[in-house]
Symmetry: C2
Subunit: 334 residues, 2 copies
């Protein structure tokens, strides 16, 4: 198959799922919100956009097994509403002023509103899920419950790491698995089950999503330091400036010499000399070869994802779609 | 029937449901919590106790229709875990230092922990509910979802009222209905449905709980001002000192003369002369007869509750149980 065609197909497919199924459901969700202060932050949050990858994966996975994604719309909405709930509460905890370039809910209203509207949003995610057919709902609920708890566990680890001076690599991988991967994985598995996949097929799609999610987050870590400032979209080096314990940071600390660590110590906590700090760490990452190491690790998660994709018993077209989608996440520059 | 026997029966029944069914389920819930920082505040919150009225009502309602409450244990736990989740988040929003005489979660840990563990707790409430039989789950989920949203709406109204100088009585009643009544009502309805009640029978039990919940909250308002300090348990006049817009306050403002309102104005915001402030308002409430008015309103909600109880098609024994239970809520002194 021509890779160009494949990439075209995957983008057309995603665009079609978005336009024809997800967008009407998103509009319906917003139009049904009660006119009551509790619900205004919810409509606002949901209107901020984003790539909507998770709900699209629910739809694409259902479509892959049943050649129709209509039945998966409630689950897709549940996943997207849940994701936005986590963002609303994470933003309070991280004291983030902006989300997708717009004022965060706790800044635009206040922390109490963001807490309470977020709570309502989590309930609404379950309300969406409840609209799935009674046949598949008992299979979906335990996945959704477990995933939701895991995402909370991931956020807890992320907050805990900020208070610690050292984090081990396996802990870090577990944190990003919980915080980022499991929801993507669950989205795929739920879609597959709605589409009529067998339990083991759905589980392979879960593992595909889980490994892709980790690879995706590692790519994020890499691009934060080594991305092209013209294409990255965010400030390059943001993680470095805020001393975030990413893959690069953790491995750098493990591999650095005593002498390097002494210089590193002078940079920790430094917020003003941003450009100089970023240059210093980028040079150190390169010297210690953690830049190539993260790319190798990423590649190995990507290969693991492909192994599971190949075992998910998909028809050629669906196989190519997910394969092209996964490739696009790996070669991105933002 | 001898009222003394009836009261004895109702207390024995509640104690038996608690000892034999709810307590083992509560212990099981705690023992299954993962040893992970996210879950410690959950175990702590659940261990603070309380009357456990809501889960006991789930069990009693199931028992009333099917002569067994075993099948209702997951729903009872869902209701209790949900209730404790709302307390954990409400305490952050209200900046409460104490809950049931113990340090609140956001004080013992921090606000972020209370937000995140509360979120996990809401998910765990759904996890409990998911353990209900697949036959009844599709009926329970929409009730639970709607109730959860209504409780959030009630908390939102409560917070909004604090920022306002005036609140109308119907708005206040709606706020306490949402914040207090609907969960008790839903507990009864869910239990009834699990027990095999018909939809309209379950709905009458819902309305019984809804009116009882409002009567219960009005009783709270009354006891705050006119309760016996020896028996009330909390500081008498706490609502008055904090200028809380209760039934008594709202009707007092509506009925007060221009001259009274001028004196009232001098007391609003006064936090130091507590005893004097409480005496002043108690005298004014009595002069304007809002004390007897609230008792009449309470009695009318109680009568409405009884009407619905009588239509719920219960066997004599169950009818007497709920009737004695309702009476006990009305004649309480704390």
């Amino acid at each position: 198959m021509n890779p160009a065609t494949s990439k075209m197909d995957y983008k057309t497919k995603l665009a079609s799922l978005f336009e024809n199924e997800l967008l009407p459901a998103l509009n319906d969700f917003s139009s049904k919100q009660k006119r009551f202060p509790l619900y205004e932050p919810i409509s606002y949050m949901m209107s901020l956009g984003g790539k909507r990858l998770r709900p699209l994966m629910v739809l694409a996975a259902a479509d892959a097994y049943s050649a129709s994604s209509k039945a998966a719309i409630p689950a897709a909405m549940a996943v997207e509403v849940f994701h936005n709930f986590t963002l609303m509460h994470d933003d309070i905890m991280d004291e983030a002023p902006l989300r997708r370039g717009k004022t965060t809910v706790h800044e635009k209203w206040n922390a109490n509103s963001a807490i309470l509207s977020g709570d309502a949003m989590l309930v609404q995610a379950y309300e969406c899920l409840t609209l799935c057919s009674a046949e598949v709902l008992p299979k979906l609920l335990p996945i959704f419950n477990q995933t939701a708890l895991e995402v909370c566990e991931g956020q807890q680890l992320d907050m805990d790491f900020e208070q610690r001076s050292q984090v081990e690599l396996p802990e870090y991988i577990e944190m990003i698995r919980l915080k980022t991967s499991v929801l993507l994985a669950a989205a795929l598995k739920m879609g597959a089950l709605i589409g009529g996949a067998k339990e083991d097929e759905a589980q392979h799609l879960y593992r595909f999503g889980e490994s892709m999610g980790i690879a995706f987050q590692l790519q994020d870590d890499f691009l934060d330091a080594f991305g092209d400032p013209e294409k990255f979209g965010k400030q390059v080096g943001g993680d470095i400036i805020s001393d975030k314990k990413t893959y690069l940071w953790i491995r750098c600390m493990e591999k650095a010499s005593e002498a390097d660590l002494k210089t590193v110590d002078t940079w920790i906590g430094e917020r003003n000399k941003g450009e100089e700090k970023v240059s210093f760490f980028k040079a150190l990452f390169a010297k210690l070869e953690v830049d190539s190491e993260i790319q190798n690790t990423m590649e190995s998660y990507y290969q693991d994802a492909m192994t599971h994709l190949n075992r998910a018993n998909l028809k050629d077209e669906a196989q190519q779609f997910f394969s092209a989608f996964a490739r696009s996440l790996m070669v991105r520059e933002n």
